[in-house]
């Protein structure tokens, strides 16, 4: 039992339990949401430090692996969770969500994501995924007296359970036909023997289950409704960290144990990537609600990130990892701006509400514009580098069609991102928004600086991603 490998997860879970106990044992008349959020942010930061310090290796009965890839994914997921939690600080208070369970559930969900990133066994994969998803289902429905929120929770839960069922079916087929649950043993079995159709069917089900969690086309139907209905702070969380964790699983499973089936899954991933990019950019044009717009935007982004997996090599994986990093950063920033859209205490999600923001609140408009330009892929912002890397990786692997579709959809996508900017700067000003909370501004500022100044942090991010990709593909623990 090499417990040191999983110290960050254990510490995070213990902190979550402690926060829960403190919250529930405290004075019932008061809301402990603020205290719980602070404690949760502190424990996430602490877990992040521990992740950086955690040793590499495989252990805990062979179900848990810690390598550079796991560390990269965990750091990005934790970062996304912290930003989302900071976004929720003020927006929850104003939306009347005073549950101290809110940050606690986010902490448990993040712990699930960390387990997912470290999975070395099909059981770890499933339990990590369920831990993450369960908490998310509850978070989506947490504003239970509002119809939209309960609808979002129910939709997400029903479709998510369906996806989990498909995933489990696929996992059982993979187990049945390869004879093992351990990734390493599955890889050996696949390389040794002929590939049976049962395994292929299992692989397809696994991919379907994971792609569902990514909300990539054709398993994206739930995304716009859930994003729109869930409280804004939950949407900010949902759009960031869980995608990273689902990508961690997908990359680990496809390039690890199912690496021998690369020919078979490559086409699948390509189709999903193309469909996501096309639908993400086309469907977003007609949206008038900014949260729905962000939903379609995230579907499109998942398509671009999948392009790197389709390439199936080290450059492709590196590109995907960098893309995810930039995505999480600009996504959190964009949601910080969306959360700031409140008028007389009422949350505004209509794009038209942004009209003339450039004159009313230049700082907020500036932030929003940076995130929109970055998502559209305008250089020298963060989004541009992510897109550039995946396109280069795709072209180098001979995936011309994929890169071509990507470029065309980027141009189409730029249209609706820039439309938001146009509304902010060229439309007649609407009524001013309520004063922003400092926490919201802080998130927007941090994300904005990271997005705008990505050139400055480009080298370390790239190096970390490359190291992660190498450690994953070498199959060695290091």
């Amino acid at each position: 039992m090499n417990w040191t490998l999983a110290v960050p997860e254990l510490v995070l879970v213990l902190c979550g339990l402690a926060t829960l106990t403190i919250g529930v044992l405290g004075d019932k008349a008061k809301s402990h949401a603020g205290l719980a959020t602070w404690l949760s942010i502190a424990s996430l930061l602490f877990a992040g430090v521990l992740v950086l310090l955690s040793p590499s290796g495989i252990g805990l009965g062979g179900v848990f692996i810690n390598d550079a890839f796991a560390r990269f994914m965990k750091i990005v997921a934790i970062g996304g969770a912290i930003l989302a939690m900071a976004v929720g600080f003020d927006s929850n208070r104003r939306a009347g969500l005073r549950h101290f369970e809110f940050p606690v559930l986010m902490v448990f969900s993040t712990a699930g994501m960390m387990v997912m990133a470290s999975s070395a066994n099909l059981m770890t994969l499933y339990i990590g995924l369920e831990l993450q998803s369960f908490a998310l289902y509850v978070l989506c429905a947490i504003d239970r007296d509002r119809l939209g929120s309960s609808e979002a929770g129910l939709k997400y839960f029903v479709l998510g359970s369906l996806a989990s069922g498909l995933l489990l079916y696929g996992l059982s087929l993979v187990y049945g036909f390869s004879g093992s649950l351990d990734y390493a043993a599955i890889a050996t079995a696949l390389h040794a023997g002929a590939i049976s159709p049962g395994l292929l069917v299992g692989m397809v089900f696994v991919v379907v289950g994971l792609v569902f969690k990514l909300s990539a086309v054709p398993f994206h139907m739930w995304t716009p409704d859930v994003y729109e209905g869930a409280p804004a702070s939950v949407t900010a969380f949902l759009a960031g960290a869980p995608k990273v964790a689902a990508f961690a699983l997908l990359i680990r499973v496809l390039l690890g144990p199912l690496g021998a089936l690369a020919h078979q899954w490559q086409l699948l991933i390509e189709i999903v990537a193309v469909c996501s990019m096309v639908l993400g950019s086309l469907a977003a044009i007609a949206q008038t609600d900014i949260k729905r717009l962000m939903a379609y935007s995230s579907i499109g982004h998942m398509g671009y990130a999948l392009m790197g997996i389709a390439a199936g090599n080290e450059a492709g994986t590196t590109a995907t990892l960098v893309y995810l990093f930039t995505y999480v950063v600009m996504n959190a920033g964009a949601f910080a701006c969306i959360v700031a859209m409140r008028r007389r205490g009422e949350a505004q999600t209509d794009i038209a509400a942004l009209a003339g923001l450039g004159r009313r609140d230049p700082a907020l408009a500036m932030g929003m514009a940076i995130f929109m330009f970055s998502m559209a892929g305008v250089p020298p912002l963060a989004g541009f580098f992510g897109k550039l890397l995946v396109f280069v990786a795709a072209v180098k692997s001979g995936l011309w069609v994929l890169a071509g579709v990507g470029i065309v959809t980027s141009v189409i996508g730029a249209f609706y991102y820039l439309r938001v900017v146009r509304v902010m700067y060229f439309d007649t000003p609407a009524e001013a928004f309520d004063a922003r909370a400092r926490s919201t501004s802080a998130v927007a500022l941090v994300s904005g600086l990271a997005t705008a100044g990505f050139v400055l942090i480009w080298a370390p991010v790239m190096a970390a991603a490359a190291l992660a990709a190498r450690s994953l593909l070498a199959g060695t623990v290091g």
Binding site: L17, L20, T21, V24, L25, K28
Partner: protein, 121 residues
């Protein structure tokens, strides 16, 4: 596989006997009793009155909360069975392992109690 089945032979006999007795009672009353149904006799009534209300009343959501909490503790019990039969072989480590699991559930129990989820009102 044979030994497992053999262990359950008494259960099978038990089930068969239960089934036969139940069948005999229902069948016996069907055969021996006089059946003269008419609409008045078959209609639903409450204490001699016409039914006041639809019998399919909606249940309070609190029943649901109680049963879902029951499921969670039931699953916990499901984990206790294999533990109980293998405890002599897994030693102190296995014992502490279960204590950790129960510890987590105890936190849940404290939460539940303090929240008042176990109180009907």
């Amino acid at each position: 596989m044979a030994p497992v089945i053999n262990d359950y032979f008494p259960v099978l006999v038990f089930v068969v006997i239960a089934f036969v007795i139940a069948l005999a009672m229902v069948g016996g009353s069907l055969l021996a009793g006089k059946q003269k149904p008419y609409p008045e006799k078959l209609s639903a009534y409450e204490c001699g009155f016409e039914a006041f209300d639809d019998s399919r009343r909606r249940f309070d959501v609190r029943f649901y909360l109680v049963s879902i909490l029951f499921i969670i503790f039931d699953l916990e019990v499901a984990f206790l069975f294999p533990w109980a039969v293998s405890l002599s072989r897994i030693g102190m480590f296995g014992f502490l392992s279960m204590l950790g699991f129960l510890g987590v559930l105890t936190v849940g129990f404290i939460y539940e109690w303090r929240k008042g989820a176990l109180e009907w009102e």
